[in-house]
Subunit: 72 residues, 7 copies
């Protein structure tokens, strides 16, 4: 299984995405492309300096260049 | 739906764009291209160190390379 | 209107350009290219740590790679 | 042996991956591609500011652009 | 006039070059190429933390990727 | 001798590799490619904040993009 | 004279190379390529936080991507 095939298996499942600059976003993976651009539903930013996550309504587009790693 | 198609659905709707360097800008998505360059109307920069957002008159062009994620 | 067409409409008009590293420059847009390289006249750097902007005589060339967003 | 061939030999073995921004992740290498995108199983982020590693269930996709070095 | 044509007009004239990382260098523009690589004569680094600029004898080559903006 | 030919001469010899983010790694150069990806044996990370280097067993793959300079 | 031709003239002469992250290295230019990869002999890192430069024996390979500017 090539690395990007892992995203195919993660469709419709919750993912935790680590981003540049220490940011972290959690949501359900709805779509991706070969640049690792991602669409997440029910996304919540996990702000380490905040006491609660910041919920994002609707669909969130994450730019692939910002991604460090993605885990379930 | 491929990630960039999400932007097609977001046209004329409010978006919140997280940018590099901790910047955040809110506005109505008027246009985009495949590099994630965006045109926003009624944009307001959300400066975490400021007490009120900085409104931007007219149309704002956001360079795609600066985008981390885009949510409604 | 595609994002870069916005710059065509902004020619000869004042723009505020946010740059990497927290820099900000204001001036009149005289020219641009597809890499978002910009030529500004009567440019003034807006230094957040300075009490007054630093005026730049003549024409200033801004490298497109440094641009985060451009607003009127 | 070319550098990327080393990853072929590391398949199914534990690796320690140093990432940009001072992050470090440990896991078993399950897959890779020529961009150094990696799939790790049983991954644990080694957070220098935390007392214990943060375990990641399932498979983790590490974006090659974020990798600084990989060791056993 | 396209942005890079501005450099043609600046040949043999003094320029102030803002660089990444808060660096700033002043000198006479002797040459450039399409990547914005520059050759400066009589260059002086303007170190914000120093009381006097650091003069550079001979010709200085500035890598285009490091340039943020160039003004007279 | 072109720059990358220097690496050919350094094969099987100790090298000190300076990396982005202030990291430094020492080891024996076992392999390289044209992207400056490196394989080091008996690698030791030289952590400026640690009292002793962190030894890395086996072979370490250093991503070329992370390299600043390489010396004997 | 195009910018990279300056390096041809600097062969076998001392150069001071400013690098990303505030690093600075001094040495004799022995070779270069079009990516600004450099080979320096008798290189010494000029560490602003150290009282004396760190000498590097043999030949040092500097990755072009790390170079900000080069002066005599």
């Amino acid at each position: 299984m090539k690395p990007l095939d892992l995203l195919q298996q993660s469709l419709r499942k919750p993912v935790l995405v680590e981003l540049r600059g220490g940011r972290r976003i959690r949501g359900t993976l709805e779509s991706y492309d070969q640049h690792l651009n991602l669409v997440l539903s029910a996304a919540e930013e996990q702000d380490p300096s905040a006491t609660a996550p910041t919920p994002r309504p609707g669909l969130t587009l994450v730019r692939g260049d910002s991604v460090i790693f993605i885990s379930p």
